[in-house]
């Protein structure tokens, strides 16, 4: 902008000077009494000289401008300052240099962040694989390379060529299609891994978590409990059997109550082991309970029968009520165990002559089975914990009543494994209501 102005001013000045010179030449030639032809010749000569001179002047000026601009750009490039330039240009230089040093600082900060992310990625214990849109590996970390014994490098090749795992491949494919994947187990010789895939704007992201220790602990625990229960049940069978045989014989007066105490203890122990085994069985197959549409009432009646008999013994009223022809989606065996536990608890913790009800109600997409009693009730602070193993609201009382402390833990696990849920409403002194929510189902198609 300034350059153009300078050039124009220079030309204008040279033209004005030329015209003036033409006029001066004319008056000089008139004084010297020359003819008009001479006036013209002298005028043109003087004017030409002025224009040429003015132009040279303008070029020199522009050259000087360009020279200082070169100096400025050199200065900006090198980041130095202090080259002698005109004061207004020095401000430009300063501004440019300031901007440049800010960029440098920002770039350094970004580099540091990137290094931090890379370091974090490398030392994170989960395997990470980032896949480009074209299905090739963009980034992998140390943990992943170790898990799958990958060769170093591997960026830019197809996922399957870098990582010999069909699960990682499937996770990447799903993520690239925009669908989250997994978790799915990978079975390797000495490791148990869980693979997940996630889509993101730049492609797919695969996360591999090492479950080896967790799985080993689970396996050890299940095997231990199963073995212990098995080993304990064998001697228990002979204790219970021989005590029963003793009780069939005439016994001295003081010996009979003792033998009866042994028999009661043995029967409680047996109930405990059965529950313990049941719990281990449920926990080891949580993902594997088949769910089918089924008629609810036959299952409920079957499950409640022992409790109805027990309630008769305690002079309690046991009522069952609800619409016929209710169908739910669930597992008959699981519902049976849940309801058996809930009703036997109700009978156990309700006083003689109390009232117990088992009702069914359809609530839209759900069917709720309620087991209600008017017994002692459970204070709200215990509501969360009663579903824990061996948690007892009243240690002495439940022992006296013969509970194992595992019933509600079994109920909770079975409900979780069968798309159902159990809730508790109760207040101390006002009885308790356990509600089992089951997904409703249509009547199954009859066989043809």
């Amino acid at each position: 902008m300034r350059l153009e102005l300078a050039q124009r001013v220079a030309l204008l000045v040279s033209v004005v000077v030329g015209v003036t010179a033409l006029a001066v030449g004319a008056s000089v030639s008139r004084v010297a009494a020359l003819g008009p032809a001479w006036v013209l010749v002298v005028g043109v000569l003087v004017a030409t000289g002025c224009v040429v001179g003015g132009h040279a002047l303008a070029r020199w000026w522009i050259g000087a401008w360009l020279g200082s601009l070169r100096a400025i750009s050199e200065e900006i490039r090198s980041g130095r300052s202090g080259v002698a330039v005109a004061p207004d240009l020095a401000a430009l230089v300063r501004a440019a240099n300031e901007r440049a040093s800010r960029w440098d600082a920002e770039r350094d900060a970004l580099d540091a962040r990137l290094r931090l992310l890379e370091d974090w990625l490398e030392c994170t214990p989960d395997g990470v694989l980032v896949v480009d849109r074209d299905g090739t590996v963009a980034v992998s970390n140390q943990a992943l390379r170790e898990m799958f014994r990958m060769r170093p490098g591997g960026a830019g090749v197809a996922v399957l060529e870098a990582v010999r795992s069909i699960e990682v491949h499937d996770a990447a494919v799903a993520a690239l299609r925009g669908a989250p994947f997994g978790p799915i187990a990978v079975v390797l010789e000495h490791r148990d891994l869980a693979v997940r895939g996630y889509p993101f704007s730049g492609g797919g992201f695969v996360l591999v978590h090492d479950m080896t220790d967790q799985r080993r602990l689970e396996r050890a625990r299940s095997a231990f409990v199963a073995n212990v229960s098995h080993e304990l049940r064998t001697p228990l069978a002979s204790i219970a059997g021989w005590t029963e045989a003793l009780l069939d014989q005439p016994l001295p007066d003081e010996a009979r109550p003792r033998a009866e105490a042994i028999a009661r203890g043995a029967s409680r122990l047996r109930a405990l082991f059965e529950d313990l085994l049941e719990l281990v069985r449920i926990e080891s197959r949580t993902s594997d309970v088949p769910l089918v549409p089924l008629a609810l009432w036959p299952v409920l009646e079957d499950a409640a029968l022992p409790s109805v008999e027990a309630a008769l013994d305690k002079d309690q009223e046991f009522v069952m009520d609800g619409p016929e022809g209710t169908f739910v989606r669930g597992n008959a065996e699981a519902i049976r165990v849940i309801v058996r536990n809930l009703t036997s608890n109700a009978v156990r913790y309700t006083q003689r002559g109390g009232h117990i009800s088992l009702t069914v109600e359809a609530l839209g997409a759900e069917v709720v089975v309620r087991v209600r009693d008017d017994g002692l009730g459970i204070a709200p602070e215990h509501h969360e914990r009663v579903f824990e193993r061996f948690y007892r609201v009243d240690e002495g009382r439940s022992r006296e009543e013969g509970g194992t402390g595992l019933g509600l833990a079994i109920v909770k696990h079975l409900a979780q494994a069968t798309a159902a849920r159990v809730t508790l409403t109760s207040a101390l002194g006002h009885g308790a209501t356990f509600s089992l929510y089951l997904p409703a189902a249509d009547r199954p198609e009859p066989w043809r």
Binding site: L160, R164, I166, E167, H169, R285, D288
Partner: protein, 223 residues
């Protein structure tokens, strides 16, 4: 100079190799999972093996179709003919390995979650070896390395030794604990299927050797 038809050929081959690689990795994973499902009584894992066979079958059909396309594109020269026909045989072997894994998983489902006396560690060891052989066979195909392909025969000798030892071990267990005989018989079947899966891996190695070296090593005395 690379013509466009040569480039197209190269792309076709790469696509076929990629699918065979996927089949190999899938079959290898199926063997690992099947044996693990038997040893850990992991019924959902067993079901996963059975379900994943479908994908292996799909890939086999896909590779077969692509090979036919590859061969029909122009009159093939000897190496192209070997590549196409041998690939079609290899995917049959891989598919058979998948079927054997399914058979093992089905045995696991039959056995259920019960416990018994069994040589878990040895069966696990054998399955690891077989899975490694499937991987080695797939790798040999991927790199067209005939010598790597022939090396599978040596690995198979260890499988045969393990097979024999395990059969004897299971037999003596069954004699000592007749109540465990049904379980023992199922495990004999599992071991036998592993041994056959290893044989299919050896087959693949020999086919790779034929495609790469040009002479057929099959049915020669295995020294």
């Amino acid at each position: 100079m690379v013509t466009s038809s040569q480039r197209q050929d190269e792309e076709r081959r790469a696509a076929i190799r990629q699918s065979v690689l996927e089949m190999g990795v899938r079959a290898e994973a199926m063997i690992r999972m099947a044996v693990r499902s038997v040893i850990d009584r992991d019924l959902p894992l067993g079901r996963r093996v059975i379900a994943s066979d479908e994908e292996l079958d799909r890939l086999e059909r896909l590779v077969d179709a692509r090979c036919l396309e590859f061969l029909a594109a122009r009159p093939p020269v000897a190496s192209e003919l070997r590549f196409g026909t041998i690939t079609m045989k290899i995917v049959t072997d891989l598919e058979r390995i998948g079927d054997l894994a399914v058979g093992i998983a089905e045995r696991g489902l039959e056995l259920g979650t019960g416990r018994g006396l069994e040589p878990d560690a040895e069966i696990q060891q054998m399955s690891v070896l077989v899975a490694e052989m499937v991987r080695a066979a797939t790798d040999a195909y991927g790199s067209s390395d005939g010598h790597d392909g022939l090396r599978l025969r040596d690995m198979d000798k260890r499988i045969d030794a393990l097979d024999l030892a395990l059969q004897r071990r299971l037999l003596s267990l069954m004699i000592a604990h007749p109540d465990q005989a049904p379980r023992g018989l199922s495990l004999v079947t599992v071991v036998h299927r592993l041994e056959r899966a290893a044989d299919h891996a050896v087959n693949i190695g020999e086919l790779v050797a034929f495609a790469a070296l040009g002479h057929d090593p099959r049915h020669r005395a295995r020294s």
